[in-house]
């Protein structure tokens, strides 16, 4: 898709020179056409201000329009995480590691999206961190300058050679080539830590897992591993907590959407962590992002869908929606507590949510069913991850359509 933007230059007389810059802000694949018009006035044709009778430069770029960059902050490290798979599935296609490259690469590529793991920007490898006594959570272990340079380059359409951090060996492997995709997702511990990187993000998400749920999930993940015991898992979480609270947690306030996972309130004294209470905290006033709401935007609603029309099994489902403030920002919070047991519960809930940016009725349900084997497919985590994925698709479409609309207006003028 070619994008052409027209620029008019101010000229004092009919002859003027236009310097063609070697590298414009569009980066690559440039073709510039310059039209000269005679200095005689055309007498008020069309819009007045700005359309002086000077020469105009029309710049067309054959390369893709600017990449949309999404940031996702999550603790568990990078890779084939469920959110990424749901997100790429919303756009269609499955995300795969780059073919023919390093088998331990953390990158995932699909037709529309490329997912980059920010662990690749570690400045210290495992032995280096051990010597210095720093964790991967510490900013000293990461090269933010390189991260900023490369994300900026990809955003402007330039391919980069990104280093690879091998999680198996703990070493930094030779770089791999990343070509600019339509949507770039940067996933890791510090997508919003550095201010310059934060400004490049078009949308940012933070997955906030509460301590009890984190402990329960880590037990499920690690108890199968020989050598791990309850004490070692607990010790590992506690040891990382100071660094986590100091460096990772503060990124919450910059996120446009926070998915907070808490233990359920429906079952008293539940410590299994199977039923979850999930809150989707959406910042108000974000460009191209309109928060999901229930029944009436801006009011406070408490909703239990189970009743006469819908029968649910224990412990049922409970929704809450309302405006709030979060770290000084105006937000809307949509909360779900409980589990989906049947298809009709899911479709019933979907039909009552508004502003979910689906293209057809039942799209959320269809996406959740497509990945019914993913963890969280029966509770708020899967639901909100899917909804955020649809919102990102909507954001992408809005950004790309606004980019094609703006140049058209300029050529009309």
């Amino acid at each position: 898709m070619a994008v052409c933007s027209a620029y008019t230059t101010q000229s004092l007389n009919s002859t003027c020179s236009i310097s063609t810059p070697a590298k414009t802000h569009l980066g690559f694949h440039q073709k510039q056409v310059v039209f000269y018009r005679r200095s005689s006035k055309r007498g008020g044709s069309g819009s007045g201000s700005g359309s002086s009778s000077g020469p105009c430069v029309i710049t067309c770029s054959a390369g893709d329009s600017q990449t949309v960059v999404i940031g996702l902050a999550a603790d568990s490290g990078c890779g084939k995480s469920t959110f990424m798979r749901r997100l790429t599935s919303v756009f269609g296609g499955a995300a795969e590691p780059p073919k023919g490259g390093n088998p331990d690469s953390n990158t995932l590529i699909s037709d529309m999206t490329t997912v980059i793991c920010l662990d690749d920007y570690h400045s210290l490898d495992r032995t280096g961190r051990k010597e210095k006594g720093v964790t991967a959570l510490d900013p000293r272990a990461n090269d933010f300058d390189l991260m900023y340079e490369q994300v900026k380059a990809i955003k402007s359409g330039v391919a980069v050679d990104k280093p690879i951090y091998n999680h198996v060996t703990g070493l930094l492997d030779p770089p791999e080539l990343i070509k600019p995709p339509k949507i770039l997702v940067i996933e890791g511990l510090h997508p919003m830590f550095d201010e310059r990187v934060r400004d490049l993000l078009d949308f940012s998400i933070y997955l906030d897992i509460s301590n009890e749920v984190k402990f329960a999930w880590k037990i499920q993940r690690d108890m199968a591993e020989r050598g791990h015991s309850l004490e070692s898992i607990k010790a590992s979480i506690e040891a990382r907590k100071p660094d986590f609270d100091a460096y990772i947690d503060p990124q919450k306030k910059y996120a446009d959407a926070v998915i907070e996972v808490l233990p359920t309130e429906l079952i008293p004294d539940d410590n299994e962590g199977k039923v979850l209470r999930v809150r989707l905290i959406m910042k108000e006033g974000v460009k191209h992002f309109s928060p999901v709401y229930l029944f009436d935007e801006g009011s406070t609603i408490s909703w239990i869908p189970c009743g006469r029309k819908l029968t649910c099994s224990y412990p049922g489902i409970k929704f809450h929606y309302g405006p709030d403030t979060y770290f000084g920002n105006e937000v809307s919070i949509l909360e779900m507590d409980g589990q989906f047991d049947r298809l009709d519960e899911l479709i019933y809930v979907e039909s009552h949510l508004s502003n979910i940016s689906t293209k057809f009725y039942g799209e959320v349900t269809q996406q959740m069913l497509k990945h019914a084997d993913f963890p969280g497919s029966n509770n708020g985590t899967g639901l909100f991850q899917t909804i955020v994925g649809l919102k990102i698709r909507d954001l992408y479409e809005q950004i790309t359509s606004s980019k094609t609309a703006a140049p058209l207006e300029a050529t009309k003028a």
């Binding site: 490290g77 084939k80 999680h167 070692s232 040891a239």
Partner: protein
């Protein structure tokens, strides 16, 4: 660091040249008769005691937990202790990802992903 003298990897042809280069004393090469029994030179055996290389991820996890417990027994708040537990976390995550990858490793599916046109993989939807 001096390279390890490869006395261990000796072929019959090389034995002859070695015999010539040394001062005439016979060189014991037990490998040729019993390749299983590897006689370690002192340098190599010292190395192997210090760094027993774990080849699978699970062993790495186990070892990292032991190291973390040792590092934390002196001072639970030190940087070494924290970094050691962080390494445990990283390796556990890598192990769980590897387990997931193994779970969905259907050879037919993998083959068909790359070659959808072959006879085994063609699908007729309409």
């Amino acid at each position: 660091m001096a390279t390890l003298f490869t006395l261990n990897f000796v072929t019959p042809r090389a034995t002859a040249s070695l015999r010539d280069s040394t001062k005439g004393s016979p060189i014991k090469v037990p490998y040729l008769n019993q390749p299983m029994k590897r006689v370690l030179s002192p340098l190599e055996s010292r190395r192997m005691q210090v760094r027993a290389a774990p080849d699978s991820l699970s062993e790495k996890v186990e070892q990292s937990i032991k190291e973390a417990q040792e590092a934390c027994s002196d001072d639970p708040a030190s940087g070494e202790c924290v970094a050691a537990w962080d390494e445990v976390e990283e390796l556990s995550a890598a192990a769980s990802h590897a387990r997931d990858r193994l779970k969905d490793n259907d050879p037919l599916e993998n083959y068909c992903k790359d070659n959808p046109e072959t006879d085994e993989c063609k699908t007729y939807d309409n």
